[in-house]
Subunit: 191 residues, 2 copies
Amino acid sequence: MEKIILASSSLRRKRILESLNIPFKSVSPEIDEKTAFTKNIELSVKKCAELKVKSVMENNKAKWIAGFDTVVELKNEILGKPRNRYEAKTMLKKLSGVTHKVHTGVSLACSYKISTDICTTFVTFNKMTEKEIEFYLNTGEWNGVAGAYRIQERGSFYVNSIKGSYSNVVGLPISLFYVMLCRYNFPINSI
Amino acid sequence: MEKIILASSSLRRKRILESLNIPFKSVSPEIDEKTAFTKNIELSVKKCAELKVKSVMENNKAKWIAGFDTVVELKNEILGKPRNRYEAKTMLKKLSGVTHKVHTGVSLACSYKISTDICTTFVTFNKMTEKEIEFYLNTGEWNGVAGAYRIQERGSFYVNSIKGSYSNVVGLPISLFYVMLCRYNFPINSI
């Protein structure tokens, strides 16, 4: 069975590929994400996903390599990973009661030919009270995630609705990735 | 810590409550779902969720009891659990390339006071080829689920986008359930 090299060490991306029965091996890319970022957010996440694939490709002769980069955008501002509880609180206050976007750049190399695309999901939060924000901060879920919430855990309490792909918000837009794999004739029918 | 009685034996609902850290005990309700169903689909799922709660309430003095009922609707027709591969194939062909609705009725009893609501999500499938339908039927995921697909597994390959609550499609609309718990002052802040 053909294996995909996942150019990511993200646990949630590994969990998604496992749930889909897609054979993979995870390899951490070595890139400076800052070099990918420009004023155009959508171009930047695509570039970043592609850099991850290229970084792994340098030391790996695998046929299939996939890279992903996910960012949370609110009114043209990127909400990264909060460095502390105070930053997480500021982000949650911004997200409360409004709609933001989550973009994931998807880059797939097949025999050194690279194809890259982007998936965007709109996420609408309910209005959060001060007490709810404090409760959520206490869960610690904000730690290590862009936008300071995890939709796959208790962050979902406050997500009123989404429009687009759910798995994109978790970090790997399944349907787009599937279409890209099919386009390159990945033997999906034998997984 | 207060525990909720989940009037359901659905594994996916249990997994959702676990992921949210909500303490619960699962009890199978004994109802004849057919008695709840009328021409009005939305009223029917609410009634069915409520009947599940009432059924468990008869033999259980717990303060908190929650019941859920999920159906897949396509053009005023309910797609139930396929009884065999042929029925599953017919359903997948109907879902291919179009948008359908998933409704979940949510019923919550707090000290014998019952409140019931409904959540609806729109799910849009990509057009599936004959080969894709055969592949998906071979995964066996269609077995035992309304609409013959599991969005949380490989059914996600074909889901182009959703509008509304994702967890609703899995069987338990988290945000609505959370709001109902808060309304009854469930001690969510101490979970």
